[in-house]
């Protein structure tokens, strides 16, 4: 067995771990009935949800198993990454029904985190589109679950962070598209109130929406940014020559860890100001390819290295609409005042819950911040903010988390007891566990 140094995408924490790469389905859960393990995909969650002393990687289990063009269904192994999946479905006139902001996670990881995308307010998280999950349980038995069959296990597995069993295959309902382009409208906003107003006015109309916020702007400019709205382009709106153009592979890469001081208050302020002023007009319409639209950061591989070896925290919380706006304004203010710089700050609205017992999205707003870990005191600062989030009936996204405390976690996920019941039934000895599940008292 090989030993490797692993971290999530946020590069914190970093641990030494033993890795086995499963070569076929029945190797996902191995023989020692007591040995704990964690199924690991592409390590694109940010914190410690993908880390454990002993992991079994799905890296080699990335095959397509079935494709039904009539019904728009695809069945594939858990280790397939979204970019590979897109390369297969896009030329056939389909796209992912939900996609996070990067195309490099595995589909198994996406289901385990019940990921959401820019269309959550209208179409929900990926759990809405999962028809069936095949998994290996702790006793190595192979089971299928769906809304109809073993539905408790199904809803515990969607958003269950890989703790119910080893997801081997997923059947996903795809979205029909006429081409691989997006029609976008970008609205520049001067402050937080204007941004929220724009959100409210456009939510019914647009399928995709997300706002970027200049989190370093203070005072009257607090919350300035731009709201990016989008729709899949119709046949007459896209370049006709290459209707189903794919993302390119390759591109630049960050070859080494930048010094931790690279992203300091000054450079981040400069970057955010430049981005904000890049667009002069109040409103701009464009047709863009899906790659820069959904996955702008994928353009530079290993971009996380610009945060330096100490890495960064991705802090994402959701709060209900009711009172959420005030709370977010308050939190943005605190962040700006403390001078905690967030390189990229993203705001969006969320729609209905999927039904996943530990799924993150609830109707309301969600705010995501990238915070460099130069100064460890930022952790307790964020833990204090978490308490405000809990009080407002909000929650933290487990796929991004590295610092949540057990009591706060238990207060923010009301269906946790149901989850624990399913977990006890299908994994009585807590074989499936991660650093995160131990920290949060889940295992």
């Amino acid at each position: 067995m090989k030993s490797e140094i692993h971290s999530g995408w946020g590069l914190h924490p970093r641990i030494e771990t033993r890795v086995v790469r499963a070569r076929q389905a029945d190797q996902l859960v191995d023989g020692h009935p007591d040995a704990s393990l964690l199924i690991q995909g592409a390590r694109r969650s940010y914190g410690d949800a993908c880390l454990a002393d002993r992991v079994i990687s799905t890296q080699l289990l990335g095959h397509l198993l079935e494709f039904d063009a009539e019904r728009g269904l695809i069945r594939c192994e858990a280790g397939i990454t979204l970019d590979v999946l897109i390369a297969f479905i896009a030329p056939r006139g389909f796209f992912l029904p939900v996609t996070p902001g990067t195309k490099f996670p595995t589909i198994g990881g996406c289901v385990a985190a019940d990921v959401h995308g820019k269309n959550h307010h209208k179409e929900g998280s990926i759990g809405f589109f999962v028809e069936e999950i095949e998994l290996f349980l702790a006793d190595r038995s192979r089971v299928c679950c769906s809304r109809e069959e073993r539905s408790e296990l199904f809803w515990a597995t969607i958003g269950g962070m890989g703790l119910t069993g080893a997801i081997y295959a997923v059947t996903l309902r795809l979205k029909k598209v006429e081409n691989t382009y997006m029609r976008t409208r970008t609205l520049k906003t001067r402050n937080f109130d204007e941004l929220c107003r724009h959100f409210e006015e456009t939510q019914q109309e647009y399928t995709y929406s997300v706002a970027w916020i200049d989190s370093l702007a203070n005072g009257a400019h607090l919350g300035r940014g731009s709201l990016i709205l989008g729709e899949h382009a119709t046949a007459d709106q896209a370049p006709t020559s290459k209707r189903f153009k794919l993302h390119s592979t390759g591109g630049p890469s960050v070859p080494f860890f930048f010094p931790s001081a690279t992203l300091n208050g000054l450079t981040m302020r400069l970057f955010n100001t430049l981005v904000y002023h890049r667009q002069i007009r109040q409103q701009r319409d464009a047709t863009v390819h899906y790659d820069p639209y959904f996955y702008p950061l994928d353009f530079v591989r290993h971009w996380n290295r610009i945060y330096g070896k100490r890495g960064f925290l991705q802090y994402q919380f959701a709060v209900p609409f009711d009172g959420g706006r005030t709370l977010m304004g308050d939190i943005l203010q605190r962040i700006a005042q403390r001078g905690v710089a967030s390189f990229l700050t993203v705001l969006k609205t969320l729609g209905q819950e999927s039904g996943g017992l530990l799924s993150f999205p609830i109707p309301g707003y969600t705010l995501a911040l990238d915070i460099p870990l130069r100064d460890p005191s930022v952790i307790s600062f964020l833990q204090d903010i978490t308490r405000l989030v809990v009080r407002a009936g909000g929650r933290i996204y487990l796929a991004k988390d590295a610092i949540l405390q057990r009591a706060d976690f238990e207060a923010m996920y009301p269906r946790l007891p149901e989850f624990k019941r399913v977990k006890r039934a299908c994994d009585p000895h807590n074989r499936f566990r991660s650093l995160q599940s131990e920290r949060l008292g889940l295992t």
Binding site: K2, Q24, L64, E77, F88
Partner: protein
């Protein structure tokens, strides 16, 4: 008409990479391996992506009695074929191999006896059809006997010699034989081994192999620098070599 390739030992990482590469060159595939059902997802994936025919057949090089009928079995399952790629091999652990007769035989039989008998019958098949081609995967370990893996090295070296003879015999009928000597490749076979260096990706190795076959090269070292490394290792006088621990 589409060409068809038979891949023996299709579960290995190099074999899969060769299969992918051949499919993109327009080949249909017959994948042969022990417990071949494990290759179902791989085969399905290729079929979905490339709209080509992929057949699976159960094959065990140590089951000597079945080797004679292999070409007929392939024909019956899939149809005539134009290229055989022999990839299977068994490294074993030298410590175990040195002690147990069973392990010694397994290493020798998998890498040499089974491989040579299989190739012998395949050669007859191609000769009859007066067309075809063979790619055999040997190893740089077959270029000089070393204390660390001489059972494996001797068998692979023997296979190299066998392929050389086969090439000589088949050349008059225009059937090409390529001997491949890969260095360290990042595969399950080498996973966790100590002291590896210059480890190559299976995709890169597969690409080299198919290109060399298309160009009718006779012996390929891949990655290329292994030709020079092995030249140096072969040039060390035995008097000195026997005292080294390479």
């Amino acid at each position: 008409m589409k060409k068809r390739a038979l891949i023996l030992g299709a579960k290995s990482a190099i074999a899969r990479a060769i299969a992918q590469r051949l499919v993109s060159d327009g080949y249909d595939l017959v994948l042969a391996a022990r417990q071949v059902d494990a290759l179902l997802p791989f085969a399905t994936d290729i079929r979905l992506r490339h709209q080509c025919q992929v057949d699976l057949i159960e094959f065990d090089a140590l089951d000597f009695d079945t080797l004679e009928h292999l070409p007929q079995r392939v024909e019956r399952t899939a149809g005539p074929f134009d290229l055989s790629v022999l990839v299977f091999g068994y490294l074993g652990k030298q410590e175990d191999t040195g002690r147990s007769t069973e392990e010694m035989l397994k290493v020798l039989n998998a890498n040499f006896t089974g491989a040579a008998v299989t190739l012998g019958h395949l050669a007859n098949y191609f000769e009859q059809r007066n067309a075809g081609g063979i790619i055999g995967i040997g190893s740089v370990a077959g270029d000089r006997g070393r204390q660390s893996n001489f059972f494996y090295g001797a068998a692979k070296g023997g296979l190299g010699l066998f392929l050389q003879g086969l090439r000589n015999r088949l050349a008059p009928c225009g059937i090409h034989v390529l001997t491949v000597k890969p260095g360290f490749v990042d595969t399950p076979m080498t996973e966790g081994l100590d002291g590896l260096f210059l480890v190559a990706k299976p995709e890169k190795v597969a690409n080299d192999i198919v290109r060399a076959y298309n160009r009718k090269r006779d012996v390929l070292y891949t990655p290329f620098f292994w030709r020079w490394i092995m030249f140096i290792i072969r040039s060390i006088p035995e008097r000195i070599f026997k005292k080294l621990s390479l």
